[in-house]
């Protein structure tokens, strides 16, 4: 049996006829004394060109530790026969601290398809969803909103989770994505793992302006510099930096006015509600591969007379800590914070907590959407 630190497979993935999936799952559960079949939602996972059905199973198993669910992996096969569809079923149980198996377990189904069978995979998936439960879609990999399967799946899911750090042609994809996410019906929502990665940066920035004296600086900020990592051989991806800027601007009521690209730097002018200009620089800086696309520093300053305050947040080399320095006139306060580097599964788990729309995220996307129109 497959085992890792957090889950144990009570049945290895076994290939079955699509029509026999439910029957096979019943067979698995009936053979497992003491294992309780539980589901809090349906989770669809799309991945292209996956080599080994077991690897996605382990990812789903890790999610099952926190959320018992029915998971359906949708794998786009590039090397199989044309218009082919294969199905596998398995079940996972979380492992308790003492090494014993927890009694609440979840199940997953793998659908591996190619050609026309892939385009129509939404209908097969729809028939396998547990009724009256929310359905999440984790689009694992580059996003193509024009892909037929992606479009069709939107009709059966409540929330779609993407990872903008994996976007190919990031700015173009981000523009399409913001249009799609902001144009959704009220009962559908979008999430982005890259937004979850920003949480410590958002929290640390908020900490810098909590006290009343420093909160006054927020209204006087006129210079923002956001740097993100780039590494040789890895495509440039400024999505996280844009998400941070979108968040900051939406919280402070800034609107983008202009955007100019120069080499690896974007010069942006924004205006606040009083028409005061704010100069923003978003630039890529060379760094190690694991920091590619990740924010490495944020500088917030005011050069207005009488508002001598500035805040600089820098990640350390390890990306596991943020160093904050605040200057208020002559006084300086510095703080080093630790940050847990979250795995993809942990980020996803966070994104699966609720299908509800996140107004803060959507307001951030609105700024990015407006910004992308200025290119």
């Amino acid at each position: 049996m497959t085992e890792n630190a957090s889950v144990v497979a009570i049945a290895e993935p076994s290939r079955v006829q699509v029509s026999q999936i439910d029957k096979q799952l019943k067979t698995i559960w009936s053979s497992q004394e003491g294992a309780t079949r539980a589901s809090t939602f349906n989770l669809l996972v799309y991945e292209s060109e996956l080599q080994d059905p077991n690897s996605i199973g382990e990812a789903i198993g890790a999610i099952a530790v926190q959320h018992p669910c029915r998971a359906i992996a949708l794998l786009a096969s590039t090397d199989g026969p044309k218009d082919n569809l294969e199905a596998y079923v398995a079940a996972y149980c979380p492992v308790s601290e003492g090494g014993g198996r927890e009694s609440i377990c979840c199940e997953y189904i793998t659908l591996r398809a190619s050609g026309k069978a892939l385009d129509e995979l939404d209908t097969t998936a729809a028939a396998l969803l547990l009724p009256e439960l929310e359905t999440f879609l984790w689009w694992k990999g580059p996003l193509n909103i024009h892909l037929e399967l992606f479009t069709n799946l939107q009709h059966i899911v409540d929330r779609t989770v993407v990872d903008s750090s994996l976007f190919e042609e990031p700015e173009k994809a981000l523009e399409s994505y913001t249009s799609l996410a902001l144009g959704q019906e009220k009962n559908r929502s979008f999430g982005d793992l890259n937004w979850s990665r920003l949480t410590p940066w958002r929290e640390e920035t908020a900490v810098a302006f909590d006290s009343e004296s420093r909160a006054a600086c927020l209204g006087a900020l006129d210079r923002v510099i956001i740097e993100y990592g780039q590494s040789e051989g890895i495509p440039l991806n400024p999505c996280q930096a844009y998400l941070f800027l979108g968040w900051l601007a939406s919280r402070l009521g800034w609107q983008p006015l202009s955007l100019h690209n120069k080499d690896l730097t974007k010069q942006i002018i924004m205006r606040d509600s009083t028409q005061r200009p704010i100069q923003v620089t978003v630039r890529a800086v060379a760094g190690e591969a694991h920091l590619a696309g990740q924010i490495t520093s944020v500088g917030l300053r005011s050069e207005e007379m009488g508002a001598a305050c500035s805040t600089v947040l820098c990640s350390s080399d390890s990306s596991s800590c943020i160093r904050m320095q605040m200057n208020m006139g002559e006084a300086t306060l510095s703080l080093v914070s630790d940050i847990d580097t979250l795995t993809t599964e942990q980020l996803l788990s966070e994104a699966l907590r609720t299908p509800d729309r996140d107004p803060i995220y959507e307001e951030s996307l609105e700024v990015i959407h407006d910004l992308m129109q200025l290119k």
Partner: protein
């Protein structure tokens, strides 16, 4: 510059949508008794964990106050060891900046001049650290120092006001009703009640707070939560540890009755039995707790027995021999202190009239477990053939506080055979398994609430006095009877057999 210490719903727009929308104001926390165990094992690790979760402002400052001659650096190093050993999160990069906000002040607790000097030191720190005159004082000392510290804070002009100064008082708050009333008078001469936070760390436990959510956020329980459906309630707080090195303190504190029943178990009883408050706010919640506490009185079991007290003898726990109470280090071999109490209480109000609440707690018991169990009445008419024991198992709702935190409901189900045959099954909710996140330590929650100015989880003056009133009859009786009624139980057992005599009408203590 004076600023309110009250935590605020943030005026900081960047806080919107973040998990913590409220943060404490910059402040200096002065800990009296800073060289003691509580500071090293609980307080500083909890503050470090809060800082790591970005729940404290960067200006937050700690001053340790004690008699021993430490430098700031020596004190920081002691605290660093405590954080490394007891913190929920590992010692990391944050320590560098966190420790810069830790200072030490050498002083006596009964020396007014030392308090005046402390005041000057705090003013200096205000300008260095940007703490704006906000003060918090934490009394982590032996109870005998509480009154002198409070009086000296007042005399040195450090008591401030509701907006900028707060005081935490550790348990025990008094050793009987009279001493609690006296201490309340001292407190109230110097501080306003809104500044005072009497701590009972049990209330900081997530699962204890969940009692309120379970009761008042679900509509299905309320119709059953009364004397029409509940037969009786058992509240158990069992420990496997003995008094160990706390013997003299435990003897002085008065054993299990004062150390556990009067505070932890009575708090659990109040949360279980209180009426729904009109809002989840400090005073509305505490008003309801006080109301129910005032309705509680010691009940009588068969033969007029009200309570059982006992002391452990030697025995075995987890395959290891353990000594008798009187053989523990620094314990007087003739001491009559009870390490176990079982008692019956009744609540004289419409909801609970006639429903006994059985409370038991002890050291060196068979298992470490804390729970509240509500046993429901039997069905009014037995429709199905009874079990071999002659009756159905009653339904049981159990709120498990620790370990294996959660809730379970026992009910009867038909076995899949041709005849009508039943079996009890448990429906379990596991707190840890459902919310796979590490619960914060009780002290984290309480320190944060204290810094935010939320008194909901702290006991009010009238509440602590009402809790003492409940146990006063037992204290008085046992002080008169002295050794006459002390029972004994083997370490590793479930307590003295005499405890079962408290039960009537076929009731029995749960086997846990």
């Amino acid at each position: 510059m004076t600023a309110s210490l009250t935590g605020r719903l943030s005026a900081n727009p960047l806080r919107q949508g973040l998990r913590l929308e409220r943060t404490p104001k910059p402040a200096i926390l002065t800990i009296f008794g800073a060289s003691g165990d509580l500071t090293v094992r609980k307080l500083i690790p909890a503050l470090y964990d809060l800082a790591r979760d970005r729940r404290l402002p960067p200006e937050f400052t700690v001053v340790g106050y004690a008699r021993r001659p430490y430098s700031h650096e020596e004190f920081r190093n002691m605290m660093k060891e405590g954080v490394a050993k007891y913190s929920r999160s590992k010692l990391g990069n944050l320590w560098e900046s966190f420790s810069k906000g830790i200072y030490y002040f050498q002083g006596d607790l009964d020396n007014l001049q030392n308090f005046k000097d402390l005041g000057e030191f705090l003013k200096t720190l205000d300008s260095e650290r940007g703490t704006l005159g906000n003060r918090a004082f934490y009394m982590a000392t032996a109870p005998s120092f509480f009154a002198p510290i409070i009086e000296n804070l007042g005399a040195a002009g450090l008591a401030g006001d509701v907006r900028n100064t707060r005081l935490v008082i550790e348990k025990p708050f008094g050793h009987d009703l009279r001493s609690a009333q006296d201490l309340n008078k001292v407190v109230q001469q110097v501080f306003h009640e809104k500044q005072v936070y009497r701590i009972d760390h049990y209330l900081g436990k997530e699962t204890v707070q969940n009692i309120l959510v379970f009761r008042f956020a679900n509509s299905i329980w309320e119709p059953l939560w009364n004397n029409r459906y509940v037969d009786h309630v058992q509240i158990t707080v069992a420990e496997t540890v003995g008094v160990e090195n706390r013997g003299p303190y435990y003897d002085e504190a008065g054993g299990a009755l004062r150390d556990m029943i009067q505070n932890h178990l009575v708090q659990l009883l109040a949360l279980t039995a209180m009426e729904p408050p009109s809002a989840f706010e400090a005073d509305t919640v505490r008003d309801e707790k006080v109301k129910v506490l005032r309705a509680i009185q010691v009940g009588q079991g068969p033969n007029g027995l009200e309570a059982v007290r006992a002391q452990y003898t030697n025995g075995w726990i987890s395959g290891e021999p353990v000594p008798a109470y009187r053989d523990e280090p620094r314990v007087n071999p003739d001491v009559q202190t009870a390490s176990y109490i079982a008692a019956k209480f009744m609540i004289n109000n419409w909801r609970w009239n006639g429903v006994p609440f059985f409370l038991r707690t002890g050291k060196r018991l068979a298992k470490r477990v804390s729970e509240i169990a509500l046993q429901f009445r039997e069905v009014p008419h037995l429709l199905f053939p009874s079990s071999s024991a002659g009756q159905l198992n009653p339904n049981m709702l159990v709120l498990r506080i620790q370990p294996d935190e959660g809730i379970s409901l026992r009910f009867e189900a038909k076995r899949p055979v041709a005849d009508i045959a039943m079996r009890s099954v448990n429906m379990d909710f596991h707190y840890g398994g459902t919310f796979e996140v590490a619960s914060p330590e009780a002290y984290e929650r309480l320190l944060l609430d204290f810094l935010l100015g939320d008194q909901t989880l702290f006991t009010r003056a009238d509440e602590v006095e009402a809790a003492w009133k409940i146990v006063t009859p037992l204290i008085e009786r046992w002080e008169i009877q002295k050794a006459g009624n002390l029972n004994y139980y083997d370490a590793g057992s479930w307590g003295p057999s005499a405890a079962s005599k408290l039960m009537d009408n076929g009731r029995r203590w749960r086997r846990l």
